[in-house]
C-alpha cells in the first residue's frame, strides 16, 4: 500500500518537474540507459587472476552470496567484475594482496587435507569460510584479507543492477522524501550509492 502511494506521488512529481525543465533532461539523466555492469561474457577468460584463482574466487563469491529465490553473486557476474576491478582499478599492492590472500585460503584448505580449495566439498569450503569470517571478526584478528574479499563481493553484488533493483530496491528519482513508511513483511532495503565508499 504505502509503496504504491510512494510510486504515484513520485511519478507525478517527476513528470511535473521534467515538464518544467522544458524537456532538457537527457535520457541518461532520467536513467533510461541500459545496463553496463555485466558487459563481460560469462565464459570469458579472467584478465587478472589465473584460472585457478578465478575458479576459487567464483566459488567463494557464490558461497558468500548464493543464489536463492533471487540471483546470487554468480548470477550478477560478480567474479568477472572483481577480476576487472583487480586488473583496472586495483593498485599493485592491492593486486598482490588478492593473489597472496587467495593463496592463503588455498593453503588453509590444503592444510585441512584437501588437494585444493576448489577440490574440497561444499561443506568443507563453507566451514573454512565461516572460520575465516569468525577469525576476521575476532578481537585480535591478524589477517584482514577475508574481510577485504567479503567487502568486495558484497560491493560487486549490491552495485549490480540485479543486486540494487531486484535484491534491494532502487529509486533513481524518488521525487518525495517519505519520512515514515510502514514496512511490509517482504520490504527490501533501499540501495544507496555511497559517496567515498572505501573498498
Amino acid at each position: 500500500m504505502a509503496d504504491n502511494r510512494t510510486h504515484l506521488t513520485r511519478r507525478t512529481a517527476i513528470k511535473g518537474a521534467v515538464a518544467l525543465l522544458g524537456g532538457t533532461l537527457t535520457t541518461a539523466q532520467l536513467g533510461l540507459l541500459g545496463n553496463s555492469f555485466a558487459a563481460i561474457a560469462e565464459d570469458a577468460p579472467p584478465r587478472f587472476l589465473c584460472p585457478e584463482q578465478f575458479t576459487m574466487l567464483s566459488r567463494i563469491a557464490d558461497l558468500i552470496i548464493p543464489e536463492t529465490d533471487t540471483a546470487g553473486a554468480l548470477g550478477v557476474g560478480a567474479p568477472h567484475f572483481i577480476d576487472m576491478m583487480l586488473a583496472d582499478w586495483a593498485s599493485p599492492q592491492r593486486q598482490a594482496e588478492y593473489v597472496a590472500g587467495l593463496d592463503g585460503i588455498d593453503m588453509r584448505a590444503r592444510g585441512a587435507g584437501a588437494s585444493s580449495f576448489s577440490a574440497s566439498t561444499t561443506e568443507q569450503q563453507m566451514a573454512l569460510l565461516r572460520a575465516l569470517d569468525k577469525e576476521f571478526f575476532a578481537e585480535h584478528s591478524t589477517d584482514p584479507f577475508f574481510g577485504v574479499l567479503k567487502k568486495m563481493v558484497l560491493f560487486a553484488y549490491y552495485s549490480s543492477e540485479i543486486g540494487a533493483t531486484v535484491e534491494l530496491r532502487f529509486q533513481r528519482i524518488p521525487g518525495d522524501y517519505l519520512p515514515c513508511v510502514p514496512m511490509a513483511d517482504d520490504s527490501h532495503a533501499w540501495f544507496w550509492s555511497q559517496h567515498n565508499y572505501a573498498l
Binding site: S160, E167, P179, C180, W190
Partner: protein, 578 residues
C-alpha cells in the same frame, strides 16, 4: 538553452572597459556578479577553471553504480597520484571527481606534522557545485565574541547590519528550514523544511526533554521545497530527494552559481564570463591609489594578459584570494596589496570537526523511510550561550540524522551464505549519528605565505599553509565527544560509539579569516563593507573577510556579505567616491 546557459567568450573578444571585475565564480563570485550586474554594472567574471554548462556537463548525474566504470570507485593508483588530498573529502568519488582539483597539478606546502587539507573545486561554479548546502545565520553572540573575549579583532558589523542581507540571500537562494526562535541561530526566510522521520522525531523529543538548553531541528539547507516565481523563472524546480547533489542537479533544486546566481546575472545582459583565466595579481595604480585591473595567465596556453575595470571584487575563495593578494606586490605594498596591516594571510581558521558519535535506535522496527533526503538535522550551539563554560571559549553545533542501514552493514557483520543474504535484504537497524562543527579561534600564528622557492606550472608562487589546532580547540574537541555521548544516551540509543578522529584543519572545508574585516586599518585588511582599507575600489567578499569563524556553516554569510558589499560599492561608485 533558452538563456539559462552562461555565455562564455573567447579572451580576444574581451574589451577593457568593464565597470567591475569579479574574480572567481563560486558562491561568493556568483553573488557578486549577480548583484553588480543587476545594479547596471558591466561585469567581467574571471574564473580559473573550465567552463561547466548547467545540466549538460553533469556527466554522472542520475547514473547508477552499475552504469559507472568501476561501480563508482576511482582507480587506486590514480587516487594516490592525483587526488591524495581531495580523496579525504567525504564527497569525493568517481561520481564527483571532475568537480575537484587535481592535487598533483595544484600543489601547496605544509610543514611536517601540520597537515592542512585544502579541498578545492576549480571550475565555473567553484565549490557551489559541491557544497552540502547547510545554511545558517550568525548572531550577535558571534559578532560580539572577539570583542568580549579578546581573541581576534572586533567585527566591524553586528547582526542588524547583516540581517536584511541574510533575508535577501535566503529569499533568492532558497533555503528550506524551520523558524525556531533561537537567539544563537536567528530565524530567516525559509521554504518548508524537509520532514523528520519517526526516529528523528522521537530523538528530538527525548533530547529536548532531557536538556532545556538544546534543540534538535531540521537542517536549514539550500534546497527548494517550494520554489518562488523567481526561482522557477530561472529554470529551477523543487528537490527530487536523490541526495546526489554533488554530481550537479539538472532540476536546479539546490543553490549553486550555475543554477541560480549566474543565470540571474546573465539575463541582465551585463555579464561577460571568461573561464580558464587564472588571476595572478591585482594591478595597483599608485597615482590614483586604486586597483586598475588584474593580470591573468591563461590556464591552457600560459599566456599573460590583463583586464581593466573601475572596481575589483576578489571572490576566489579564502586561500585563492589570499594567494592573489600576497602575489600583488608594488612599491607601496611590498607584502601584498592592501596589506599595510600585515594581517593578510594570518588568522586562518576552519571549523573543528570529525568528532561525533553514533548509536542504534531500538524502536520503530516496523517503519522505514523512502527517498533520499539531501539534508539532515542540526543541533544548534548550546555551550557558552547562557552560561559560561570554564573549559573552553565559544561553541559548537552538530549535524546528524537517522537512517535505516542498508547492505553495507554486511561489511561489519559476521556471516556468509543464505541467511546472511536474507538478512541484508531487509532494512537494517535504525542508526542515528551526529558530528560536531566547532568554532576555531583566530590566531595570528595560523597563517599562509607565498613560497619563495616553488611556483605552480602557471608561474604563481604556491601557498605554504601553516595551521594547527591549539589549546582551545583541543578542549572543545573533548567537549564535543563528551556531549555527543551524553546526547546519544539521552536520545535513547544503544550500542553507542564515539568517534574521536579529529579532522585535520581544512577538512571541514570552511577555511576563512586571512583578510579579515575590522575597524582598524592597522590590524585588519577590510572595513565594514568588505572594502580594502588601503585601496578603496578593491573589495574582498569570500571567507577571507571573516573576522571570526563562529560555528555555523559559513557560506550563507559569504552570500550576505557579498550582496551587502556590492550594494555599497555601487553606491560609492555612483557617488563618485571610487
Amino acid at each position: 538553452m533558452r538563456g539559462f546557459g552562461v555565455n562564455t567568450i573567447m579572451p580576444s573578444e574581451v574589451s577593457n572597459d568593464f565597470d567591475a571585475i569579479v574574480v572567481g565564480s563560486g558562491i561568493s563570485g556568483g553573488w557578486a556578479a549577480k548583484e553588480l550586474t543587476e545594479r547596471g554594472l558591466k561585469v567581467l567574471l574571471l574564473e580559473r577553471g573550465r567552463n561547466v554548462t548547467h545540466r549538460q556537463d553533469y556527466v554522472t548525474e542520475g547514473k547508477a553504480a552499475w552504469e559507472m566504470p568501476y561501480a563508482g570507485q576511482i582507480p587506486e593508483s590514480l587516487t594516490e597520484s592525483d587526488y591524495a588530498v581531495q580523496n579525504q573529502c567525504y564527497a569525493f568519488s568517481d561520481y564527483t571527481k571532475h568537480f575537484f582539483v587535481n592535487d598533483r597539478e595544484n600543489p601547496y606546502a605544509t610543514p611536517d606534522n601540520k597537515p592542512f587539507s585544502w579541498i578545492r573545486g576549480h571550475q565555473l561554479g567553484g565549490r557551489s557545485l559541491l557544497w552540502h548546502r547547510h545554511s545558517y545565520r550568525l548572531s550577535d553572540l558571534d559578532f560580539e565574541a572577539n570583542k568580549l573575549d579578546g581573541h581576534g579583532a572586533d567585527w566591524p558589523i553586528r547582526y542588524k547590519d547583516l540581517a536584511p542581507w541574510y533575508d535577501h540571500a535566503e529569499n533568492f537562494a532558497g533555503i528550506s528550514g524551520s523558524n525556531e526562535g533561537l537567539s544563537q541561530l536567528p530565524d530567516g526566510v525559509f521554504q518548508p523544511p524537509f520532514p523528520m522521520n519517526c526516529v528523528e522525531k522521537d530523538i528530538k523529543k527525548n533530547i529536548e526533554a532531557a536538556f532545556s538548553d538544546r534543540k534538535l531541528i531540521m537542517g536549514r539547507v539550500a534546497h527548494l521545497t517550494e520554489p518562488t516565481k523567481e526561482q522557477i523563472a530561472l529554470g529551477r524546480s523543487r528537490c527530487m530527494n536523490r541526495d546526489e547533489c554533488q554530481r550537479g542537479c539538472s532540476f536546479g533544486a539546490y543553490f549553486s552559481s550555475l543554477s541560480a546566481t549566474l543565470p540571474a546575472a546573465n539575463r541582465t545582459g551585463n555579464l561577460t564570463t571568461v573561464t580558464d583565466a587564472i588571476v595572478d595579481s591585482v594591478i595597483y595604480d599608485s597615482d590614483s591609489n586604486r586597483a586598475s585591473g588584474v593580470r591573468v595567465v591563461d590556464a591552457n596556453n600560459h599566456e599573460h594578459r590583463s583586464y581593466g575595470a573601475r572596481l575589483v571584487f576578489l571572490c576566489a575563495s579564502t586561500l585563492g584570494t589570499t594567494q592573489i593578494m600576497l602575489n600583488s606586490t608594488s612599491e607601496r605594498f611590498p607584502n601584498g596589496i592592501a596589506n599595510s596591516s600585515g594581517a593578510l594571510g594570518r588568522y586562518l581558521m576552519d571549523h573543528i570537526g570529525g568528532v561525533g558519535a553514533s548509536g542504534v535506535f531500538p524502536g520503530h522496527q516496523d517503519m522505514y523511510d523512502a527517498g533520499r533526503r539531501g539534508g539532515g538535522l542540526y543541533l544548534p550551539r548550546f555551550r557558552n550561550v547562557m552560561d559560561k563554560d570554564e573549559r573552553f571559549l565559544r561553541g559548537f553545533g552538530y549535524q546528524g540524522g537517522a537512517y535505516r542501514s542498508s547492505w553495507s552493514r554486511g561489511n561489519n557483520t559476521p556471516g556468509i551464505g543464505i541467511d546472511f543474504k536474507a538478512e541484508l535484504q531487509r532494512p537494517g537497524p535504525w542508526i542515528f549519528d551526529m558530528v560536531g562543527f566547532g568554532e576555531m579561534l583566530p590566531d595570528e600564528r595560523n597563517r599562509v605565505r607565498l613560497s619563495k622557492k616553488n611556483k605552480d606550472s602557471w608561474g604563481m608562487p604556491i601557498l605554504e599553509i601553516d595551521c594547527e589546532h591549539r589549546e582551545n580547540e583541543f578542549a572543545m574537541f573533548d567537549a564535543i565527544a563528551a556531549d555527543a555521548e551524553e546526547l546519544m544516551n539521552a536520545a535513547g540509543l544503544t550500542d553507542i560509539s564515539v568517534n574521536q578522529d579529529k579532522a585535520a584543519p581544512g577538512l571541514m572545508i570552511h577555511e576563512m579569516g586571512t583578510a579579515r574585516m575590522g575597524h582598524d586599518p592597522k590590524t585588519s585588511v577590510l572595513n565594514k563593507f568588505n572594502q580594502a582599507h588601503d585601496v578603496p575600489n578593491l573589495f574582498v567578499t569570500d571567507g577571507s573577510a571573516m573576522t571570526s569563524s563562529a560555528c555555523q556553516n559559513p557560506s550563507l554569510t559569504y552570500m550576505a556579505l557579498t550582496a551587502r558589499a556590492a550594494a555599497a560599492a555601487v553606491e560609492m561608485l555612483q557617488e563618485g567616491k571610487l
